[in-house]
């Protein structure tokens, strides 16, 4: 990318940590396209979002109180209840195990989507790599959840469908549909965030009075909605994987 388009934090990372990352990437066989600037905006802002979330939750942790909950605690209790309620609706039995992963996913994606609204910052979810990483982690998570609760044999057997003679038809269909899930998760999140920014910028190039702000507001709404949908789909996939047909 052009050096002027670099985020200021990316430039700091490239100045101080550029060498170690280039040698690490070369060691694992994927050398960067521009060895002087191996850090890219999306990974740097992703690390920044992680740091912000960790600081926020460390601060929250220190202020937890049973008798006199502060505003921050009440807010995050509401978020937790929301995520826990969705998990209870989606997963028949034992939903509390999955709330931690799914809640983290929700807050991480929400913060990453919203940081792009601040002028000067760019959403990491605008690059296809970040939603792809999240979708692949969801893919492995729900298969692992299914394997853990049902055992390897029973979990693989349920791909064959309700009746054994349907298996030659069901297995390829289930295989393709399971592969399509991370693809659709990726494209949905990436395209929504990318299109939101593009539309705002397009209207900003036409006029700077009022109209781009409307589209930016829509982008904020879509950011919340897409984080919620990503979390909800992860829960639905987990629910499908751990479902017992009693």
């Amino acid at each position: 990318m052009e050096p002027e388009a670099e985020f200021w934090l990316t430039r700091l990372f490239n100045d101080f940590l550029g060498g170690p990352l280039t040698s690490f990437l070369a060691a694992i066989g994927r050398p960067p396209a521009d060895p002087a600037h191996p850090w890219q905006n999306w990974i740097v802002i992703e690390i920044l979002v992680v740091a912000i979330i960790m600081v926020l939750f460390a601060f929250l942790r220190s202020r937890l109180s049973v008798d006199q909950p502060g505003k921050l605690q009440i807010t995050f209790e509401a978020v937790y209840n929301f995520v826990s309620g969705q998990a209870h609706d989606a997963v028949d039995y034992g939903s509390a195990k999955y709330v931690s992963f799914v809640g983290t996913l929700f807050i991480f994606i929400l913060f990453m989507n919203l940081i792009g609204v601040i002028p000067g910052f760019e959403s990491p979810t605008m690059t296809p790599a970040v939603p792809l990483g999240l979708a692949v982690s969801v893919f492995f998570y729900y298969h692992w959840a299914g394997l853990r609760t049902q055992g390897v044999g029973r979990y693989l057997a349920h791909f064959a469908g309700p009746m054994p003679w349907l298996a030659p038809l069901m297995v390829p269909i289930e295989f393709i549909s399971h592969l399509a899930r991370p693809l659709s998760l990726t494209i949905r999140l990436f395209a929504n965030m990318f299109a939101g920014e593009r539309v705002t910028v397009t209207f900003l190039s036409l006029t700077f009075i009022a109209i781009p702000a409307v589209f930016m507001g829509l982008h904020v709404f879509v950011a919340f909605l897409q984080a919620f949908i990503f979390m909800l789909l992860c829960l639905i996939y987990v629910g499908g994987a751990v479902a017992h047909e009693h």
Binding site: I187, R188, F190, A191, A195, L225, Q226, I229, L232
Partner: protein, 100 residues
């Protein structure tokens, strides 16, 4: 009447014949030739997505009117359905950008 309309349509199309006098410009890429199709595809995808979402909202509004007690569940199903339909139009948008 039909023959008049067909004649008029062909006449209008032939009205654009000066375009054949164009000097070949700076080399059209093979990939660039696909761009108008990408735009039409995006238009079709958005239109059909609009129809689908319209049906979803219409039935959700009617269900909420019939059964005000189930508003929470209906609203949830509505939002989920709208987002999934929206993502279909967005797949086409991604292909529009990929097919440069």
């Amino acid at each position: 009447m039909t023959r008049k309309i067909i004649f008029l349509a062909i006449a209008f199309l032939l009205l654009a014949s000066p375009i054949f006098a164009q000097t070949p410009g700076g080399g059209t890429n093979l990939a660039d030739l696909g761009r108008p199709f990408a735009y039409i595809a995006m238009g079709i995808a958005s239109g059909l997505c609009g129809i689908g979402q319209g049906k979803a909202v219409a039935s959700a509004a009617e269900a909420m009117a019939r059964n005000p007690g189930a508003q929470g569940g209906i609203r949830f199903a509505l939002i989920l359905g709208l987002v999934l339909i929206e993502s279909l139009a967005l797949y086409t948008l991604v292909i529009t950008y990929v097919a440069k």
